[in-house]
């Protein structure tokens, strides 16, 4: 990662209160995103990836609190006042969502959405310039200018997602966070949207944090990948290396259980993802991990670099110094009855 990262997150925690207790959705997470780089954040539902994506922009549900550092342009976004944060959201940091059908105000034309956004952040633009720039950005995501004055309900799901992307890109943000942008779209439209997102680098010079549960999308669209489990990033590194030689057992098992055109036999991970209110002690994955050792069940693993530009949190990779004697022995996993299986 030659030049300075656009965003570097250090020891970020995002917890929110619920009736049953505090959910530790993001639990001491650290990662960087390089300028014009695509970082894929993958994990199963309920692992906290969505909260992380929104937490970076400070868009948290009521009763949520964040702690730690989200460094952008030399400033820590955690703790900024809502006014300062909303000043950054848009021109600096963009966010697009999973469900496009309800993300546009049904009473406003597409033109009004763009006018409102540009007048807010770039008041010096004239009427013509606003129209010019909006149509140009919409054209780049495949929306024809003839439909600029139409209402949201006159567009299909795929078209609305394109409009949402254009709305984020019209302000030329340096970083775009995409939270499962294609999950609710058909596979061909999904590929069309992914092509647009993957080309952000070339067309807009924008870095992308792509959040998804689909390992195929990560492989095809991302430069680097971070694997998240139960609120923690258990492994991250260049996509090619991580897919070729997964360091963390969860990454390996997840890859094996993904059903793709090449799958020859079915594989699944026993047990169920833990609830984030009181996750298992030590390494959160240990109850389901085939390579579990005694130390895993009580001591939290430490970040280790198993190779160049890679990181993993797993005692398999040491450091040996931190593992007390005799603790490296394997732990036979008590039979996990299907009863508490996912």
């Amino acid at each position: 990662m030659s030049d300075a990262p656009v965003l570097s997150v250090r020891d970020l925690r995002v917890h929110y209160g619920t009736v049953r207790g505090t959910v530790r959705a993001v639990d001491r997470v650290s990662f960087d995103i390089g300028a014009a780089e695509v970082l894929g954040l993958v994990g199963e539902s309920g692992c906290g990836k969505s909260t992380l994506g929104r937490g970076v922009l400070g868009l948290l549900p009521e009763g949520a609190a964040s702690d730690g550092q989200v460094l952008y342009g030399g400033r820590n976004l955690v703790g900024l006042s809502p006014r300062q944060l909303s000043g950054l959201r848009g021109p600096e940091l963009g966010l697009i969502f999973q469900e496009p059908m309800t993300r546009l105000n049904p009473l406003l034309r597409i033109e009004d959405h763009f006018k409102e956004t540009l007048e807010q952040h770039e008041p010096q633009l004239t009427e013509r310039e606003i129209r010019q720039r909006s149509l140009e950005t919409l054209g780049r995501v495949g929306i024809p200018p003839t439909r600029f004055r139409q209402y949201p309900h006159e567009f299909s799901g795929g078209m609305r997602q394109r409009i949402m992307i254009a709305l984020a890109l019209v302000l030329r943000p340096k970083l775009l966070v995409a939270d499962e942008p294609t999950t609710s779209l058909d596979v061909i439209v999904e590929a069309q949207i992914l092509a647009i997102l993957a080309d952000l680098k070339r067309n807009f010079g924008t870095a992308l944090l792509l959040i998804t549960h689909n390992l195929g999308i990560i492989a095809e669209a991302c430069d680097r990948v971070a694997v998240m489990y139960a609120g923690k990033i258990v492994e991250d590194g260049p996509a090619r290396d991580v897919f070729a030689d997964p360091a963390h057992p969860y990454t390996r098992e997840l890859l094996r259980s993904t059903i793709s055109l090449e799958t020859t036999e079915l594989h699944s991970i026993p047990g169920a993802p833990p609830n984030l209110i009181d996750p298992p002690a030590g390494c959160h994955f240990h109850p389901r991990c085939p390579d579990v050792m005694r130390v895993c069940s009580w001591k939290q693993p430490i970040d280790v670099a198993p190779g160049p530009d890679r990181r993993v949190q797993c005692w398999l990779h040491g450091p040996e110094a931190e593992i007390p004697p005799g603790e490296a022995a394997g732990l036979e996993r008590e039979e996990i009855a299907v009863a508490d299986e996912a």
Partner: protein
């Protein structure tokens, strides 16, 4: 392989558990909705007690104008003998307020029962089966729903009054007739939404007869939100009943005390500055209607998922279960 069968749960305990699940959200209510529920329930209970214990609590009968041979003073201001003063017919205002509670709650209860027993089943059938029956009913109900319901009630009361008299029954029928369209609409819209749910379609796929599906799958999920509507509706019904009474189409004054009727008598008193004959029945109405509305709003707030606000525990980072770990050696 013989499967050890647990002792079967007694049907009563199952009902209790089922009910417990429905009441669950109410126990969880917090903050203002809970306050509303408790205050509302308190006020409503007070009036229910007044109604039930009227003969015991009330110092005099509702139409008693003299005791022990001598007549009560006319239009006497509140005094020790008559805490709320007396009316021009020298009846005791407080007794009429207490007995009035009995009349109001009785009529409102009967009218609710009528409206629900007619409106809900019609809504269920029309919503589930659709077709011509549904279209016809919807048109009729919408025409009724758009009609000024006080007017409707007056006309019905007027017509029934000369056949079955101005008794409790007339008032109850008049009121319930105006609320049948409300229950019909609410239940019908709910059933139409439910019919699209997978588990209702699954029931059809299992081969269940339509009536079984309505009974076991649709009814329970619909009936759960009739209570909030019924309580708000009861509050409305009291306003309607007192309005009818005020216009002279409520209960026969000789049959029972009724706050609306008392208020209409108080109009002439007010002109000459006598306030108590108008104030106390009026306050009774406002209190009871507010009480019922508070219960309805409280129920609505706790049971309607959109409005529900669950008590969330505050987040604080300091009491952190795991010890903070030291920053590992950076890979890159």
């Amino acid at each position: 392989m013989a499967i050890p069968v647990q002792p079967i749960e007694s049907p009563f305990r199952r009902r209790a558990r089922g009910l417990g699940r429905a009441v669950g959200p109410i126990r969880e209510a917090r903050g203002f909705p809970r306050l509303m529920l408790y205050i509302g329930a308190g006020i409503t209970l007070l009036f229910v007690l007044l109604a039930l214990l009227a003969p015991v609590i009330s110092p005099y009968d509702f139409d008693q104008y003299q005791s022990g041979g001598h007549r009560f003073p006319q239009l006497a201001s509140p005094s020790s003998g008559h805490w709320m003063g007396t009316t021009v017919q020298s009846t005791d205002v407080m007794s009429r307020v207490i007995w009035g509670a009995q009349t109001e709650l009785k009529v409102v209860f009967i009218s609710l029962v009528f409206a629900i027993t007619v409106g809900v089943p019609l809504g269920l059938l029309s919503g589930y089966f659709g077709g011509k029956l549904d279209r016809g009913l919807v048109l009729v109900m919408d025409a009724l729903y758009a009609f000024p319901y006080l007017l409707l009630a007056i006309v019905i009361a007027f017509l029934l009054s000369n056949s079955i008299g101005k008794g409790v029954l007339t008032a109850a029928i008049a009121i319930s007739a105006t609320y049948v369209p409300l229950y019909f609409r609410v239940v019908r819209n709910q059933v139409i939404a439910l019919r699209e749910e997978s588990y209702v379609e699954a029931a059809r796929a299992l081969g269940a007869k339509p009536l079984t599906i309505i009974r076991k799958y649709v009814f329970h999920n619909v009936v759960q939100n009739v209570p909030p509507i019924a309580t708000l509706n009861a509050a409305d019904a009291i306003l309607l009943l007192t309005a009818l009474g005020f216009l002279g189409y409520g209960i026969q004054p000789t049959d029972a005390a009724e706050w609306g009727y008392d208020s209409s008598r108080a109009v002439s008193d007010a002109a000459s500055g006598i306030w108590w004959t108008a104030l106390f029945p009026g306050i009774a109405i406002v209190l009871l209607v507010t009480g019922l509305t508070l219960v309805g709003e409280g129920l609505n707030e706790t049971m309607n998922p959109v409005l529900r606000r669950r008590r969330v525990q505050r987040v604080n980072f300091d009491q952190e279960p795991e010890p903070p770990i030291v920053e590992a050696v950076e890979g890159s």
